[in-house]
């Protein structure tokens, strides 16, 4: 036990596409402990949001994450509509649902490719990403953009889905279903994948609940926790779907949860197109949002995203808070990476274990910690303390009663 070396993984490391530091304490090839450090990618998005109008913020929100962009725009719009307190047209709800689900399909396929790359299976990576292009094309056809869709707006959506495009989308969904089933077969039967993923990165059900994991991470630990089912929003209350869970709690379970969810999403898109009512796609809502607080939450591909918005009666938010799913899932990483009894973690398992939560750090990094560099002391300031110390002489930020 005396020969423990700390191996830093990140903030620059080929396995991580984004900056984060995992210090692994390694004894030979075994990882005996891990420590996380985030905060390399703080972009000040929330602060930037305070200077822009609600409408402008939608487009900033979309850029919080390059993969699940629509989720953040949707959440912010939802939170804003929550403050205003007006219903939006039903058709817009359905169109938003289609957007969210297409987004989930592309995100899960992207993740499957990345996971394959992490275990050194580049062929699967290339094939999955090739087939993911099909979804990207559908998304472009629907919203006009491949990545930042700019679909959601406050009060509805900005683009309608005409009949012929919907039919094309259905055809693509059929073809896609076949492909995804093929990949499921492959992941279940390919020996080397199973060797690398079975029993790796185990997060037991109790730990998952205690550490507040979200999304596929907690569902792969056997907890049916899905905001779409638990707190139906958009059109999820009218569309039946299954919350996929697996109970082997390892990386294989996370792979299978995501693949099965992709299949569910394909069904949701079909249902949504079938059930979509006709009518307007957007309600005109006031630019200036009344005083109040609003919350938007939805199930992003990675887990639950929460947006909190506080308005002081102007057209700009007084405070905007985003909680991305990776922040909730990060806590379970040290647990997954610690060898305990029969459960042994090897260095080789670190990348795939970390990737299995589908981390997105640029979405996550918004925590600020106050540190006195000279003494190394760190502390936490509450909102009102900061306000008292620094905001006194800034009338534009003053909260209206």
């Amino acid at each position: 036990m005396s020969n423990i070396v700390d191996v830093p993984v990140g903030p620059q490391h080929p396995a991580l596409k984004e900056p984060l530091n995992i210090t692994c304490y390694v004894d030979g090839e075994q990882v005996v402990g891990a420590k996380l450090r985030i905060g390399y990618n703080h972009r000040g998005i929330e602060k930037a949001g305070e200077y822009q109008t609600f409408i402008q913020n939608l487009y900033i929100a979309e850029r919080i994450c390059g993969i699940c962009g629509i989720v953040h725009a949707f959440d912010l719009a939802q939170a804003t509509e929550h403050i205003i307190g007006k219903e939006i047209p039903r058709r817009a709800d359905y169109l938003r649902t289609i957007g969210l689900e297409l987004n989930r399909i592309h995100s899960h396929l992207l993740w499957l490719g990345v996971a394959a790359h992490e275990i050194g299976f580049d062929t699967l990576f290339m094939y999955v990403w090739r087939d993911r292009e099909v979804v990207m094309d559908v998304i472009e056809d629907f919203t006009g953009n491949r990545v930042t869709y700019a679909l959601v707006t406050i009060g509805g959506v900005r683009r309608d889905l005409p009949q012929e495009k919907a039919e094309k989308m259905l055809r693509v969904m059929d073809a896609l279903e076949e492909t995804v089933k093929k990949y499921k077969e492959m992941c279940l039967n390919e020996k080397t994948i199973r060797m690398r993923c079975d029993g790796v990165g185990v997060l037991r059900k109790e730990d998952a609940i205690a550490l507040c994991a979200v999304g596929p991470t907690i569902r792969a630990s056997g907890v049916p926790f899905d905001i779409r089912a638990d707190d139906p929003h958009a059109a999820y209350d009218e569309i039946p779907f299954k919350v996929v869970t697996y109970d082997t709690c390892d990386v294989t379970a996370r792979i299978l949860v995501r693949i099965d969810e992709t299949l569910e999403s394909i069904n949701i898109v079909r249902e949504a197109i079938k059930k979509m009512p006709s009518g307007p796609i957007r309600a005109r809502l006031p630019r200036a949002v009344p005083v109040g607080e609003g919350v938007g939450r939805t199930e992003a591909p990675r887990g639950e995203v929460i947006h909190y918005v506080r308005s002081n009666g102007t057209d700009r938010p007084f405070r905007w808070k985003v909680r991305a799913p990776t922040l909730a899932n990060l806590l379970s990483i040290p647990v997954m990476l610690t060898s305990k009894g029969d459960y042994v973690v090897y260095i080789a398992d670190v990348p795939i274990t970390f990737a299995s939560i589908d981390p997105c750090l640029s979405c996550t990094d918004r925590a600020v910690k106050f540190v006195d560099v000279s003494s190394g002391k760190s502390w936490v300031w509450t909102f009102s303390q900061i306000k008292r110390m620094y905001w006194k002489d800034k009338p534009c930020w003053r909260e209206r009663p």
Partner: protein, 342 residues
Amino acid sequence: MEGEAVIQELIDVLRTLLFPGFLFFVILGLFFEWIDRKFYAKLQNRVGPLYTGPWGLLQPLADFVKLMAKEDIVPEGAIKPIFSSVPVFALALSLFAALFLPVCGPQGIVSFPGDVIVLAVVLTLLVILVFLGGLSPASRYPEVGAERSVLQLLGYEIPLVASILGATAMTVGLGGSLSIEGIVNAQRDWWSILGFQALGFAIFLLAAQAELERVPFDIPEAETEIVAGWTTEYSGKKLALLRLARDVELAFLCGLGATLFLGGPWPGPLVPGLGGAIVSTIIFVIKSIVVLLLLTVIRAAMSRLRIDQMVNFAWKYLVPLSIFQLLLAVVVAPLMIHLLTL
């Protein structure tokens, strides 16, 4: 008389330096890297190297030249003499090993009884170099890579040597010999792979894949785990030489597979005169490419194993199988030949 001797000497030097010696194998190595990349890309539905030269043929060379021109950094804590000499030795050893291959006739440039053993030693020495190259820069990722490479060697060395020795069984009917030349000549009418050696060939392919550190055995340089493994700290000229050494080693191992199991240059040497050498060379290269394509398919069809899984797999399956095939080749096959000829 003296003049003839000088000319003979000169021819030998040219043979070693140009064809079928160093230059030939450097070019063959780069060419094989291109085939490997192109075929790997085809299997993955990509295009692979495309722009440098016709069909991207010059891409490996361009990579080499680019790396040669890059800044060469030596880490501060490195044991500099070892760190700097590993790439040179790796290239030298690979090229040395390649001299034994019977490219343009049943005999390599260097040939003596027992050279098969020398080749086995060279293959192990190459891994020792990997170990030194990983330990000398005093950095964490290379250190892990070096440890892994030696662990991996424990797994595949015995199967590799056993499969090579199994190939020598072909020479039993011809009085027995431990030389490449003997093995090649024994396959004049009947390639080893067509007999009891098919299993040996399969074992050789897997062991060669491990020796070359390619998926599923690219554990010592696993990119997503330990950056570039034991090569992490190498840059510039040293990295260029290491990559070239790897290419030559790839060509060498493919050639060795072709020599031991696919009959080497046969039936090329049947053609008389200079034509025989040319035909032999072409046949040898084609057979090597067949081995290379098999290696590439293995690389494309699997994911990387963990080091413990690799060693487990090697000791549970590869080692017993290789001993079995050695028995088959050395005991059963000669017995059957004996019975058949009675």
